[in-house]
Symmetry: C3
Subunit: 263 residues, 3 copies
């Protein structure tokens, strides 16, 4: 089968992202299914603390996961408010890895930040028994991810599509102005300004609108404890941080806030 | 040895449930012991967020874990307020899987929801060194689970018993009336009304006592955001959910609340 | 190479401690790197809930991790407020295991509680590409841990040092007086009084300063629900607990509180 021949075989390494939290059996239910289809899989939790149904925050984490793992990794990302409707399920080949996720914008940030060829497909495989209407992560996506991790060709489970849903306003900035797109667990405010831009503009300060101004530094220790600093974060984006503290709490920065590197 | 011969050998797949939380070393201490006895084990956390010492909530999750995993899985469930007393430790063979847990009712919901033959035994194996009085999960149950995962016969570590402690009031409903038995991490209210009952009575609405009434639907998207719907959840029980919200918060439903499918 | 010859090869079992929390991709980023260097590694999370930048609490957990795991285990402990400065990174051989951590006191409690020979070294290995200034856990420590887990000799990555930073005031007590050094996730107050001391002094009661007095018992069930008891905890230290409750909440005990075993 031609499509099969042309496609890579993925590794038995599956990375999971969801908004399921850790207090229930939902994540384990997906892992149980993965391990039925690929008993030798190494399964890594990226996070299950995406804020409930927050596709935008999930999209940031999907990109971080793909950027972190080696070629061959299979990603399963489930933030799925429209489960049970006819929204599509995507299986995306990107950066030598594969991402399974609902077609609701979750792939946006990875699509825009990770280079190279991207192949979008719609998962057409369905389980022999009728799936639950409320848990496609377990009943449709996890079996498919397990099969791909076990060596099944993506092309056998899907058909190509060219119109994935992408979130219009989740884009990297192109100049010295951008905005906060994510608050991490330490309260650092991640912006959409790429590291290359930060280096190119050679600014000395960053304006945070009503939150004031902070210096552009290299690491947290460039400022005193409790003070704010802008720096290139571990995800190659400009972040606003407070040394030994939380920028979200201390400065009150929020997703959507505008930031600008001063000349 | 006759008993040994008659018993299955379990897989090196161990699923864990506890009320230990994730902020301490307690879960890792159990895993360290498991891996000493069965280095090749795949260990899956179901959850460690059972509310502290809440045997009833733990019992719901034990059933969900057994229902999720394949035959051969070894489950270790530790919600153990009476640790250090002479309460027994059970090793239960159910659905082709084995569950190790204190004999305090944790096995109740699995016993009543999962069909087939159930073999109850009391764990008689004890470690050569005196165990801690406060952490039998690590010192007695984890070694036993590791040994079973590594191929040791259950019969070599235990003796059959016929009187496991079961919680009298945690039973599936038999008619169109039931009650809330569990609130999940999304705030969905899981009832004790089995899916088959829901399908058989063909009701259109569900009465929630003082909380009002909601339609019986198929998936969250059957109602508008913020509205309540009753549906068959992923655990084959009727649940009360609020679309894009929490039934616990929005409706105030609680464990113990009565619910009734209207004709 | 002489150094290599003299050193043990570690197992592909890596235990992780950090203050990264579970809501971001940071832990997964470290695991991705570990698995690139040692694909067959079993990775166990001890906890990622060390309070942010709390080196003292992290030090208690590092000791617990080393005490829990078998010889050969590789530990990666990242609580690193001075990341990006010239603070050293340690690679410590202790109890037949290896611990990688910043040289900021994280190794203190393990050094003082675990017997035998301890070899301290400074990690001299650095990645070919410039590491991030904000995430040495991923860019320097995780690759080194992965290489050691994959069989690389510690001596090839480091040079011996004799002056690790140790926290002066985190020491086991020597008499019947001590202090609370850690509050666990159940609210139990762990003291620095070793189990052997507790057994030797044969006291009947424990004074908790302004918090009152409680009996010295063997297990939680030695007192009524809601009452306090001092006992030997799972870490072989005296703990103050409240049966079916939290000593931190009920008694108000805090890290630093003095405790004394009455004669």
């Amino acid at each position: 089968m031609e499509t099969t021949f042309a496609q890579p075989h993925y590794r038995p390494l599956v990375a999971l992202i969801s908004d399921f939290g850790e207090s229930d059996y939902y994540v384990a239910a997906m892992k149980a299914v993965l391990l039925r289809h690929c008993a030798e899989a190494t399964v890594v939790d990226v996070t299950h603390r995406v804020p409930p149904q927050d596709v935008r925050a999930g999209a940031i984490l999907v990109e971080r996961a793909v950027a972190s793992f080696a070629a061959g990794t299979v990603h399963l990302a489930v933030v799925d408010p429209e489960v049970g409707t006819n929204r599509r399920i995507l299986i995306v080949q990107i950066g030598g890895q594969v991402v399974l996720c609902p077609d609701n914008g979750l792939i946006t940030w990875a699509a825009r930040r990770i280079g190279g060829k991207i192949d979008y497909a719609e998962l057409t495989w369905r389980p022999p028994q009728a799936p639950s209407s409320v848990f496609h992560g377990r009943d449709i996506m996890a079996p498919a991810a397990g099969m791909v991790a076990a060596g099944r060709a993506v092309g056998e489970l899907s058909r190509p599509v060219s119109d994935p849903m992408l979130l219009d306003d989740l884009v990297p900035s192109v100049g010295r102005s951008g905005r906060v797109i994510y608050i991490d667990g330490f309260g650092n405010a991640v912006t959409n300004i790429p590291a290359d831009t930060v280096r190119a503009v050679a600014g000395k300060n960053v304006h945070l609108g009503a939150r004031g101004t902070c210096p552009l530094g290299r690491t947290y220790a460039d400022v005193e404890p409790g003070e704010a600093v802008a720096l290139i974060g571990s995800g190659d984006l400009m972040e606003i941080a407070v040394r030994n503290g939380s920028a979200a709490t201390v400065l009150g920065v929020r997703v959507g806030d505008e930031v600008r590197i001063a000349g």
